[in-house]
Subunit: 82 residues, 5 copies
């Protein structure tokens, strides 16, 4: 998985029917801007955990997405393991 920051909402009226009702967010990962399905209710500026590939479709197998937001970081950063 990768960590990223939500930077926008993606609107597309013309799309695959299987994407209807799907919340698509733009997420910056390093230098890249990606688009991911939101599974956890993330919002603008949130630091999120992204999962890619078929992992992104476990909760909705018929939805043609290849990236999903599967978690929101508690404090925006990652700490050393104790």
């Amino acid at each position: 998985m990768k960590l990223g920051t939500v930077t926008g909402c993606v609107w597309a009226t013309k799309k695959s029917p299987a994407l209807r009702g799907q919340s698509l967010l733009q997420v910056r990962v390093g230098e890249l801007e990606l688009v991911a399905a939101d599974l956890v209710g993330a919002g603008q500026g949130d630091r999120v955990i992204l999962s890619f590939g078929s992992a992104a479709r476990l909760e909705q197998p018929d939805c043609p997405v290849d990236a999903a937001i599967v978690g929101i970081l508690d404090e925006g950063t990652v700490r050393e393991c104790r």
Copy 2:
């Protein structure tokens, strides 16, 4: 998923039989030129949403494509989430 811009149409007479009738478009994603199956009727210059991997084959499981255009951006850009 990634955002890209349609830059051309790909013609190949000699191809895998499973690709027959498939509309293949060239799409620029950042610095890269990719080829994707068009599932939504995109045209030259459209800003599109691309899905990769097995997600690109959900609608046509026997077609050997690894990228598909699954949506067209409403306004060409992505806005902040409200």
Copy 3:
């Protein structure tokens, strides 16, 4: 998918039995040299369409390849969509 140019033939006597009889070509994609299974009879210098991942195994599910040549470009270039 990606576009590439066939740059050589790959010979390997010692290989996975499931690769026997498989034509493997070297293909340059941008700056990278890759190896792909040839499904369409491509030759040295051809401009080809490559599909990656499980898409490359649709026609031969038991063959351990992750890239396949699925088409040959008609004119070596991609044109604007009309």
Copy 4:
């Protein structure tokens, strides 16, 4: 697979229910920071082997992860094969 170094623990209260109880570690692979499920009890600073994609879900098919720590290097380095 790739080799990496564990650099932190990832905490996310708000997450996909299928991730509950899953230990997620931050791992540096070259210049990149990734997040991976820990299958072997790795700790801060350990040199680990990471597997990506569906390989990361073999032990827990319903967990939406795309990377897993599948081993810890014995001595932190890789030696020449004898």
Copy 5:
């Protein structure tokens, strides 16, 4: 697939049980060092063909690897196709 050169043997006592008995080699692919399961008996310095993703698990579906050595180049180089 990609071409690479075997640069070492990877030893990990603490690992996923499904990796037991699996020969893991370090392979240099361009600038990158990767780890791959050896399916063909490759040795230090061999020029090898690597397959990635689920292709790497066709011969051993329960082994959490995402890369496998599936062939050894006959002469260390690739020649023009005749």
